[in-house]
């Protein structure tokens, strides 16, 4: 009685050492993701998706418990060495499948889902180790998006605090993200003819390609860009579709240095002297080139060629050599959007956060999955001691599917006339003692 109680507690200990320890570690790792995806908002902005990883883990654990329960019950009822060994094997295999195996499968099937959700901009390999940073980036993006759109009044400034605290849970915020992405996706990314946008993205952005991107005919924008009154739009057309420039796809300011000496030669000195005061050392109060670009856009608006303004800013880098830095500034910030890539992530917010939340499991399951296998093995051994008891050895346990063959030497010594013992009689007390005598004989014989 005392011994069986000891075994019981030993088994409980083995159970605890397996999945629960792994789970505790995973929960600890997941906390980073949950915390990082929630920075700046008062509640869990990505509820319940940020808990997807933990949910997956609980499901896996329940499956494991189910397998443990079934194998345990079979061993307990049959009380045979054979059932104990098969049960142990099944449990160990299940533990490996449910830890390492699951991740092998996820490693195979998740990458395409992730790629298609993010238009090939986040790759699975980016997340493998860097998931917590990615979660943080996401919360930061959400924060920036809300601030940009409060500033340009696409989100009602009066409700600023509500947006900030509710984050992605807020319907207005969700709707605005969806619509902004649809606009930049349909009316920018998919709007350039043929393979041009891919050429711009790669290492082959040539001047001809840039000219194509600026001036080629494009289909008129068709997705509403709601609640935006900048760029001369009034109340009556504040929801109208909007045109995007190629620079908006990148969001970053493009800057290039222009050397007047190269362009003007000896005349540089005169130009610099005459234009003193027009070029300043900072970006404020510079020559109003943005007006020029706005008029360039106006000029082309009729032809539907270049509809989106690009702002240009200038800064004098070196007065003596006449080097001017020209900055090309996209519309993104004033319109309250990110570049295309980040808008694509943003549009798949829930899915990406859910996928990110699964990643803390990955390394834990790969590395510590072996502990679950070991604890499963320990549980199997304890079960055998508990339910099958002493004197039931492994001998011949796995030799046949229906029964256990009698060892050759037994036959030679005249014991038994049939090669197989029927398995069902395991439960008969009479047969049990009969087979025990054979086992005793075998063990005596081989000593």
């Amino acid at each position: 009685m005392k011994k069986s109680k000891g075994l019981f507690w030993l088994k409980v200990f083995a159970y605890v050492l397996g999945f629960p320890v792994l789970m505790a570690y995973t929960v600890y790792q997941s906390m980073f993701v949950i915390y990082d995806s929630n920075v700046g908002t008062d509640n869990t902005t990505y509820m319940p998706y940020v808990f997807a990883g933990l949910l997956v883990m609980v499901v896996i654990w329940l499956l494991y418990l189910l397998v443990a329960l079934i194998t345990g019950m079979i061993t307990k009822r049959r009380k045979t060495a054979r059932s104990a060994y098969i049960g142990t094997t099944v449990l160990v295999i299940a533990s490996v499948i449910l830890t390492t195996g699951v991740w092998f499968a996820l490693d195979k099937y998740l990458p395409p889902i992730l790629s298609s959700a993010t238009s090939n901009t986040i790759h699975y390999s980016d997340l493998e180790e860097d998931y917590a940073d990615r979660a943080y980036l996401h919360s930061e993006m959400l924060h920036d998006f809300i601030e940009m759109n409060i500033a340009n009044a696409r989100l009602d400034p009066a409700k600023a605090e509500t947006y900030r605290s509710e984050g992605y849970q807020n319907e207005d915020v969700q709707k605005l993200i969806k619509e902004s992405f649809q606009s930049i996706d349909n009316d920018a990314y998919r709007n350039w003819p043929g393979p041009l946008i891919n050429l711009a993205d790669g290492s082959r952005l040539t001047i001809p390609v840039l000219i194509h991107l600026l001036f080629d005919e494009r289909a008129a924008p068709s997705k509403p860009f709601t609640n935006y009154v900048g760029e001369g739009r009034g109340e009556e057309n504040k929801d109208a579709p909007i045109k995007w420039a190629i620079l908006d796809m990148q969001q970053d300011v493009m800057s290039l240095d222009l050397n007047l000496n190269d362009l003007l030669g000896d005349l540089t000195g005169i130009v610099m002297f005459v234009s003193e005061g027009y070029f300043t050392e900072d970006y404020t109060g510079t020559i109003p080139i943005d007006d020029i670009m706005a008029s360039l856009a106006t000029a082309l608006a009729d032809e539907n060629v270049l509809g989106a303004p690009i702002y240009i800013d200038m800064k004098l880098i070196n007065a003596e050599t006449g080097v001017i830095q020209i900055k090309l500034v996209p519309n993104s910030e004033t319109r309250g959007v990110f570049d295309y890539k980040r808008m694509a992530w943003f549009d798949s917010n829930y899915l990406i956060v859910a996928i990110i939340s699964i990643f803390p499991l990955r390394n834990a399951f790969y590395i510590f999955g072996v502990f679950v296998a070991i604890s499963s093995l320990a549980i199997g051994i304890i079960r055998k001691s508990q339910y099958v008891g002493k004197g039931r050895s492994l001998k011949g346990a796995f030799s046949g599917s229906k029964g256990i063959p009698i060892p050759a030497q037994s036959t030679a010594s005249g014991y038994g006339t049939t090669s197989y013992r029927p398995q069902v009689v395991d439960d008969s007390p009479y047969m049990r003692s009969y087979y025990a005598s054979i086992d005793d004989y075998n063990s005596r014989n081989s000593q």
Partner: protein, 532 residues
């Protein structure tokens, strides 16, 4: 049963393990090392085949020898198998020494005639690995200089107007040709690639080593050929193109076809994108929206340019600060080399706010700014003693812009298709791909700056044609012999080190098998079994 059964079983297992281990250090390990060596050498298919067939051959040989010798005594069997195995291991080395070596001597002479110094067998046996890496980096040099896409170019290449492309040369999507002219596909046999319906490379097709080589060969060799007759290929090409501008030429006739007008007419067939299928037209096998097939949609036209510049100028004059800057610059006009008349004309335009592109061109033309001057600043005179007058028009500006912004419709033939002189036509195509096509995709092949000429890279200095021919002569020759012989050299290197292990492994394997059998015989009831 006096024997300890478990001890016998343990010994049985021990001999069995030793037998397998001994066998493994023979052929299997050798083949593994050979495969590894050949992988390192990087000579692909041929090398692997040697290993795979070698592996299968060895297994087959072992089975056959085993069947023949099944009734022989154990040690006889072992001896014969070891002899056969040694022969198999030695054979490639012997083959190399007696056959390949003499082939190398022949090749040395043959390649010397082709201007390639082919090293002796003894040298290459030692340094073939470094020769191979040198070969690979040489081939990379060409590719990097011209920013090419692999050996055969990009697999896909779409058109900006989304009309179909193909790499299948018997495809039925090609245009039918015009009048009596046969359809022409540039470099179809020599280089291949992804083509548009008009036989040009598709808009986004980035050429590979094969195409770049062919383009450069055509370009340089045609030039050299004309130069030998004291002619300039470019000038001759210009003459051919001028002929096409004459009334009644095939090109002029072609410009009157519906096919051409659909792409380059005064206006697109449709004013706006097609809204239903019936508006689309059949090209090749499929239906396309003629609105999107209109070529001027894909480049800056003279009208668009004028509109842009005029609005820009109008806006400049509206803005007081810009206006002030221009006036300040104008005040220093004489220092900038402007004469009084020009300064007056610009001042008037600024005052009346009617500065347009046309206006500016007029001012520039009437100022005589572009007229050539001699060293003393005096106007240069022509043969009749009159000053040379140079003027500029919108077409001149469009020509400059045209190198950066142009579009050749993939569903119409280019002008150069109609060039009658076949040699010059091929030359024109090569030049087009080396310059204009390459400039769009960052694979400029012809010019002072080649390869990756993009927004953030100014390209590379070109390789001279002599360098290119020498490089390809070398690569061609090396591609002939390296895949053929280098796997053998790699095999030889490993075999020489390893020959002894194969018979040793086999002898041990037989020995351990003998011991195993002996133990096994103790297990059987009648004590029978074991090797005879």
């Amino acid at each position: 049963m006096g024997n300890n059964l478990n001890a016998i079983k343990a010994k049985l297992v021990l001999w069995r393990v030793l037998k397998i281990a001994a066998y493994a250090i023979g052929f299997p390990l050798l083949l593994y090392l050979l495969k590894k060596d050949i992988t390192n050498v990087g000579v692909s298919k041929n090398g692997y085949n040697v290993i795979y067939y070698g592996f299968l051959g060895v297994i087959a040989l072992q089975i056959i020898v085993g069947i023949f010798l099944r009734r022989r005594e154990f040690y006889v069997r072992a001896l014969i198998v070891v002899i056969v195995a040694s022969a198999v291991v030695l054979a490639p080395t012997l083959y190399m020494e007696f056959t390949v070596k003499s082939e190398f001597e022949k090749l040395e002479e043959e390649y010397a005639e082709r201007g390639y110094s082919f090293a002796r067998y003894e040298t290459q046996v030692m340094d073939f690995s470094s020769r191979l890496s040198s070969h690979n980096s040489a081939s990379g040099t060409f590719s990097n200089t011209y920013n090419l896409n692999g050996d055969t170019g990009s697999k896909k290449g779409n058109n900006f107007d989304n009309t179909p492309t193909t790499s299948d040369l018997v495809s039925n999507i090609y245009l039918d040709g015009f009048a009596t002219m046969q359809h022409y596909v540039f470099g179809a046999e020599e280089a291949g690639g992804v083509y548009s319906m008009n036989g040009l490379y598709a808009d986004a097709f980035v050429v590979g080593v094969k195409q770049a080589r062919y383009i450069l060969e055509v370009y340089h060799e045609t030039r050299a050929k004309f130069a030998a007759d004291n002619l300039d290929a470019d000038a001759e090409l210009e003459k051919e193109l001028e002929k096409l501008d004459e009334a009644g030429s095939l090109w002029k006739q072609y410009q009157n076809t519906a096919e051409y007008k659909r792409a380059y007419g005064d206006a697109p067939v449709l004013d706006a994108p097609a809204t239903d299928e019936s508006q689309k037209i059949k090209v090749g096998d499929n239906y396309y929206d003629p609105y999107w097939m209109y070529a001027p949609h894909y480049y800056l036209t003279a009208d668009e340019l004028t509109a842009v510049v005029d609005t820009l100028l109008a806006n400049l004059l509206e803005n007081k600060r810009v206006n002030d800057l221009l006036k300040a610059l104008l005040a220093a006009g004489d220092q900038l080399g402007l004469d009084a008349g020009t300064i007056g004309a610009i001042s008037d335009a600024l005052e009346n706010k009617n500065l347009s592109l046309e206006n500016i061109l007029d001012i520039v033309n009437s100022s005589g700014l572009l007229n050539p001057k001699d060293e003393n600043g005096k106007p240069m005179l022509d043969e009749d003693g009159n000053p040379i007058v140079v003027t500029i028009g919108i077409n001149d500006i469009m020509e400059v812009i045209g190198t950066l912004s142009y579009y050749q419709s993939p569903t119409t033939y280019p002008k150069m298709f109609f060039i009658q002189n076949k040699e010059l036509r091929t030359y024109a195509y090569a030049k087009y791909f080396g310059t204009k096509h390459g400039a769009v995709l960052g694979t400029v092949l012809i010019g002072d700056s080649v390869g990756k000429v993009t927004m953030d890279s100014s390209g590379n200095p070109p390789m001279s044609y002599d360098e290119i021919t020498a490089l390809f002569n070398r690569l061609d020759i090396e591609n002939e012999y390296m895949p053929k012989y280098y796997p053998w050299l790699a095999i030889r290197r490993t075999l020489i080190k390893y020959t002894g292990f194969v018979p040793l492994g086999l002898i041990l394997a037989y020995l351990f098998a003998f011991f195993e059998r002996k133990q096994f015989s103790k297990l059987t009831v009648a004590g029978k079994g074991g090797y005879r």
